[in-house]
Symmetry: C2
Subunit: 460 residues, 2 copies
């Protein structure tokens, strides 16, 4: 395989022919993830790995010739982490979907990286087990992509993020060698935590091909929902702070703002409250009297914080109905035009202040911004919308994006809560990390990938 | 400061004179942690850092002259991680005990690394907050030492280990530069997780001087204890497996074996059950009816697994009384002679098998071994006891130690569950990690500490 010539042909010599694509339309389909706003290039070839050995063979060949390699799951990333770089081979793991082992007694499972999050949840549920991490993309995103970006989700506020569930992994290193990191036991303190280092490293240190994931018992939870409509963002923010101060840990604490509410209602006519500046949606999942008491406390704290109205539910169907506006918010906004998705995380108490700053940015830069927030974590997704084909609006959206990142940093926040740095957050991440910590990143990257072939230019 | 000459004198020029020790007896007192079984050397000097800047100044000077530096908290480590290496400067952080900030709304605290775990717990409790990690040494060990070794404890089985609570840190790097890693927000995905890399790295990649620790609400827990006496280790093991399979997550699930029971009873005459091969001690901390139901389930699962007798308690004083034998086990065994403490972690279901193998090792190598176990995590502490001054018994103890590590590996376990590798577990860790993963450790170490001055020869 020579860098200048027929890379796809050479790859077909390593794999089965149907595992390699190089038609222009096919290459374009794999040129970027869900972050078209970030730069991307047409790759030289796309390969569909069927096994860890396939990944190793491709990386080994690429390493010999200094060809960059971009690993990719389902391509649902929102920061451009899986966008192809010039001259690269894209390795898709979407065909590596095997559930290798479920151990109900030890509560872990071993799975190939291309398995869809939701398919995994369903499969382990059959063993009485639960995999909590629930990024919004859970029906379509892969576990490997979730791990590479350290994906979050709605239940993080109580159950933590992907990193908290990764016990170990199989990784293909930059020279194509295969290693196993981590463990299968409940605890372990042997050597550096290279598993944690790989999680969130966006394919820049190795390609995760298998994961050993920690699971929880499936039962022992009862969901109750409390949804409050607020006349002001400050009121909703005060309710979030009061719930936290009361020592209640909800299993979800989401916020959607007026713009989201309007978009959903204009689309689906749900009869959502008019004149509400925000809807605050909480669930608790403690069983029995404890859960009922927590739900009642949340309702009264919302009332004290000035909620215009509150709805509660304990039946699963009713809980789903109350959360419908949250689930529909993103698709409702996508109807309005291409969405540039922000992902900032500020201290919980700074949520109302940050929401105010986002409104100021929208006004100043003349852009439409609707905000969905994992309010209980301080993790906000301002969705910046530019009408299709309006290049000037797109340019203004990018300016607004950077301003929001700056405001977040000023409030003591971090530039990405759960989507990863990819390409979109590189400028903000570099400021946040600072020169010396960036140098640590470069040193570690150079130590593990001296030829810089693994997803170069991403993550830091 | 020249490597050959008056290091202590040079250090007195950097710090206040009372921060530097170099009397032989003083040096010997800081030559090792609680792992005298591992090699150690008299250091050149001991310094008591009063601030991050002090640590930085000493490391900078040491780096210039290629002098190794060993960081140390309270010296309660059990693997030799803080044992002085030849020609080293020991930097003690025990005077860095300030609680810098507690944020009750965000539920985190910032603290200097030398603060004692228990003092921190008490201090944050005054703010209605709880710091779960509870290593057995929590009354005397420092938070910095806990982080450097990724210390575990009794409540890990439900609440996780130290790593799960470290949001960020201030670290002095190998050239004396100071960096801040991590974040204060609830979530964050910016850059590599260097915080997780530092936790458990035993001072080989940097010296942790401050920690930002995640906290939980203090309230919302009610402890109930269920203690069962078993005629066989197999019965106790079956109960552990049944509790896990039932989806119950206890807040503690401890086991002490017959040898421990006998040692405690001979010392304190508690009237512990005679003829019991093991005591299984569980707590649950769910509130109200849920907790009562979980305790009742544990009691009936213990009965089904063949418990000879069961005691239950819901009042705090009674819970403490039931756990007294567990708390007294280690001091009771230390009365019998120097203890070589093992720390292996096997799959939960392999606990009875591992206990059987430990008995075989004790018989074969003619050593006394008593076992305490965090059974719910599969984390066992076989305590190998050699009579004071009996060098032959000490030699046999070391042989037994290595055999237990081998048996653990054969059962799919890891060679250290919560104490760290230090020096004692180096041979086992090297086998467990394998050549290529060891090479990754060396590459990362060389990238961050190219002159190999930070605690050289430890951890991997």
């Amino acid at each position: 395989m020579r860098a200048e010539t027929d890379v796809a042909g050479a790859l077909r010599g390593l794999l089965r022919p149907d595992q390699v694509l190089d038609g222009p339309a096919q290459l374009d389909a794999y040129a970027h993830d869900d972050a078209e706003w970030a730069p991307y290039a047409r790759p030289r070839a796309v390969v569909f790995a069927g096994s860890t050995d396939d990944v190793a063979a491709v990386v080994r060949a690429a390493a010999e010739h200094g060809i960059p390699v971009v690993a990719r799951g389902a391509g649902t990333g929102l920061s451009g982490g899986a966008n192809a770089v010039p001259g690269s081979i894209v390795i898709s793991l979407e065909r590596m979907t095997r559930l290798i082992e479920v151990d109900a007694a030890e509560r872990y499972a071993v799975v190939e990286a291309g398995m869809i999050n939701d398919e995994f949840r369903v499969a382990v549920a059959a063993h009485g087990l639960w995999y909590p991490p629930d990024p919004a993309s859970y029906r379509i995103s892969t576990l490997g992509g979730n791990a590479a970006t350290n994906a979050g989700g709605i239940c993080c506020v109580k159950y933590g993020v992907t990193r908290d569930y990764v016990l170990g992994m199989t990784v293909v290193l930059a020279d194509g060698e295969i290693v196993r990191l981590g463990r299968r036991t409940a605890k372990g303190a042997t050597g550096y935590d290279l598993t944690a280092l790989m999680v969130g490293s966006e394919g820049t240190l190795g390609i995760i091909t298998e994961l050993t994931l920690k699971l929880l018992p499936l039962g022992g939870r009862e969901e109750r929902a409390v949804v409050g409509a607020f006349g002001s963002l400050e009121g909703a923010g005060a309710a979030v702070a009061a719930i936290s101060a009361a020592g209640i840990i909800p299993s979800a604490l989401e916020l959607i703002d007026e713009m989201c509410l309007r978009a959903v209602d204009e689309w689906q006519h749900l009869g959502l409250p008019h004149g509400a500046a925000a809807l605050l949606l909480a669930t608790v999942d403690d069983v029995g009297a404890v859960g009922a008491a927590a739900a009642a406390s949340i309702a009264s704290l919302m009332t004290e914080a000035g909620a215009l109205g509150i709805e509660q539910a304990a039946e699963p169907a009713e809980v789903d109905r109350l959360f419908l506006a949250r689930r529909l918010a993103y698709p409702a906004l996508e109807r309005l035009g291409p969405v540039l998705t922000e992902d900032i995380c500020v201290p919980r108490t700074a949520v109302p202040r940050m929401l105010g700053l986002i409104r100021e940015v929208a006004a100043r830069d003349d852009v439409v911004i609707a905000t969905i927030a994992h309010a209980g974590d301080g993790n906000l997704h301002p969705l910046i919308i530019a009408p299709e084909g309006d290049e000037a609006a797109k340019a203004r959206a990018k300016v607004a994006f950077d301003r929001i990142v700056e405001d977040c940093r000023m409030l003591g926040g971090t530039v990405t809560g759960e989507h990863g740095v990819g390409l979109l957050k590189l400028p903000g991440a570099r400021v946040e990390l600072g020169e010396r910590v960036l140098a640590m990143h470069r040193d570690i990257k150079a130590a593990l990938d001296p030829r810089d072939i693994l997803n170069p230019g991403k993550a830091f």
